[in-house]
Symmetry: C2
Subunit: 531 residues, 2 copies
Amino acid sequence: MNDPQDGNPTDSTEPPEEGGRRGRGARPGGRDARRALRSGGGNKQRRYLDRKIPVFEILSEESLEIIEHNADVILEEIGIEFREDEEALGILKDAGCDVQGERVRFPKGFCRKVIQDNAPRTFTQHARNPERSVQIGGGATVFAPVYGPPFVHDLDGERRYATIADFENLVKLAYMSPNLHHSGGTVCEPVDIPVNKRHLDMVYSHIRYSDKPFMGSVTAPERAEDSINMAKIVFGADFVDNNTVMINLINANSPMTFDGTMLGALKTYARGNQACIVTPFILSGAMAPCTPAGVMAQTLAEGMAGITFAQLVHPGAPCIFGSFASSISMQSGAPTFGTPEPAMVLYAMAALVRRLGVPFRSGGGLCGSKVPDAQAAYEAAATLQPTVLAGVNFVLHSAGWLEGGLVSSFEKLLMDADQLGMLQVMAEGPDMSENGQAMDAIREVGPGQHFLGCAHTQANFESAFYRSNIADNNSYEQWLSEGSTDARGRANKMARKMLAEYVAPELDPAIDEALRDYIAKTKESMPDAFT
Amino acid sequence: MNDPQDGNPTDSTEPPEEGGRRGRGARPGGRDARRALRSGGGNKQRRYLDRKIPVFEILSEESLEIIEHNADVILEEIGIEFREDEEALGILKDAGCDVQGERVRFPKGFCRKVIQDNAPRTFTQHARNPERSVQIGGGATVFAPVYGPPFVHDLDGERRYATIADFENLVKLAYMSPNLHHSGGTVCEPVDIPVNKRHLDMVYSHIRYSDKPFMGSVTAPERAEDSINMAKIVFGADFVDNNTVMINLINANSPMTFDGTMLGALKTYARGNQACIVTPFILSGAMAPCTPAGVMAQTLAEGMAGITFAQLVHPGAPCIFGSFASSISMQSGAPTFGTPEPAMVLYAMAALVRRLGVPFRSGGGLCGSKVPDAQAAYEAAATLQPTVLAGVNFVLHSAGWLEGGLVSSFEKLLMDADQLGMLQVMAEGPDMSENGQAMDAIREVGPGQHFLGCAHTQANFESAFYRSNIADNNSYEQWLSEGSTDARGRANKMARKMLAEYVAPELDPAIDEALRDYIAKTKESMPDAFT
């Protein structure tokens, strides 16, 4: 189902094929219910972004070649450490790498060749609702919500540790947001559940409260196994063996290190044909040099090493090249967001990974602000705009990220999602059809008149302009009379309304019961752990 | 001093030449004082943006040609009205245009040829401080503050009619903001001064409280004359006759109409060799079709007609092609900002005007929000980012715009200006020098270590990252202990501090006295008018 580059490359913009989901016939009212959802649900889902506009290139050909050369030098001369994993070192040694202790040096050109010979350029991640399946790679961009925060900013304005109830609510909001294509993974850390069991509740929430594609657990190999087993209950074992139904976040320990935990999860998912995002996570100046060109070379080397390893473990395993790069404050050492240097890295990495030929993950609505204020919005926009213009394929953190990733914000999730909708329209580019050119309207109206009543405006007005559901464009007087609410207040109100109106997507009760059984048995099999 | 395309085209990125300002020797302490200002002023001014990164092109060559063809059809077949100005009609008729009543149709290819044969590709706008002179056109981008609002959002949080005291304070803040290159024009409407006299106080404020380049009055030909006369007192008559010291905003009455007031100001400035921004001001769906491609063709036709007229009035007159395009809300008819459709128009117009070969004005920190909240920031960013990526040359409204242009905000001026600084760094592109590549640092540090203490980080840390003066990146606990201030609150505090610390740039007392005399005499010569 995946498309190795030398086999059957498809940069197709066709929707991913349907089928393969177990129990489709068995689910009561499947097709009709889906139709009802489409028409009656009130939230017209957007299909994943399929760009019609060019990408923005920040580096010249010559500069791109310099970075590629530097990455090759890192791989060949400095090397990458693969820690706490003897099997990994054996695999790399057998493939011809120079392994000294845990340090692995790659022969010149080795990584690029392994990746280009094996890794799919694009692949489909299947959702349990086939209409929500997404293309990863090519001209597609898929928006997924924030990942990882231990805290939430709740709808009462409190900042506190996250719970599984928050997790479920964030999944519900992402499900209802037409501009989010993906349910994401750890939308917040449900710290009220033992650390060794919470992955079960998280995966279950994505399956139960959404029908969008989702992510699996990576915090231990056995948790990755659980994620795959639960997916098999939903999609069927054969389907999961042969198709990608989960995307999983494998961070490098930059600089130039992968640890045993992440390597274990990577091996499990790669062997199971599930997708891995191999992401150098870099606070520039700490985990990499403080100059963008240095970050680029190191990121390229680390990502290539990780994806090469995945291809050696399981040739053809779907991989996404990830890049997370922020600056740090020289006063406090705190990460900063929305500044120009990481945006440069983003644009450059998108181009470098395009040349490498695998899907690319980066960007998002990143910010350092404590509240969803102007700082949060400027900073989020300063990453979201480059995310789309650079042609990022998979966007984690595209909505809901606050306070440097420590906090998931319900309000910001909806505010960001509104921006994602605008960027998706932007990526469609202007309509250059005769109707779009509107010369008849210009002829009809003529100098000094207005276009409000002309036939062209009447015919096109409904769909002419993106309509924000957060922005207030009423008169000052009306805004005043309605309580002088700011964007945050309006998002708060909208989130409350959405959660009140939420209706779960249908799920075969037999599947639901099987999932609950699996979770109960797995939880019973071990004592709670909180660290 | 201007550069006609067929004469001495300079897309040079060299700083504009110094000299020509009257009384330079006479001004006490000129050079030394300037040096002191540079070193001791605490606000290190940035020179106008001089882009090193490519522009983003949204339209294909084929699409650009379609729009150009459609604009030609509008100019040739539909025509443009030049109203309430017999002289203008005569000039156009004499040049070979088809004039029927006030409707003017241009022969095929006429406008493009007149513009390309006469209008400068780039020119210098001189400031009274030669270090603040700016290049208009080519790879340069010049940021000027908001223009036109009758209201201000003051530092006590009140929204009220603007006064000349507000005007002065906005000029002071723009003067002190290192990322604003220009003092602008009507930074707010000082409605406490009679409408027929306030232009005198506005021009005086720009000269007295700033030394950055500024704009003149366009609301009547005699006010344009006053603006030029005051500039002559500062720069010397000879210098003003032969150099551009003012930029002036001439809006078309879209669709396809110029009125007598604007034509009068345009003629005055063009004959005086002062620059005109000819700007079709379009709320899409009202003054133009509701589709971006329709807005593009109409904008191109209107701008070409206006600049052609300026070149017929005074061949070689410096002109800037302007485009202001927003959408409207279909519920209320109110203009909306930060949506994707105007951004598409912006990108396309920048490319079309580059092909035409004159400087381009568009963009800014536009928003519809009533307060400097997340809506304001998202919307401002959604125009500011395209402004810089598209390669806009002159940016009005780049800081301080609120509530659809009805309100000038002190807080948002500083918040936007911070974003302008980031965009300016972005436009520098990544440093690809050996130091930027940082391979020695990567070799030195190696896998699993950190870069904080390495020699490269020590050497580069100070200048490595853009430092926002608005963003708070401290820990949550510290932020809490400091009063939980949001971005707006911090901008408010900063504005108060800046105004308290403001020191006026030096101005020869003789010049100051001459300006005051001119203003007093002109004011005495006519009764107050308030409409």
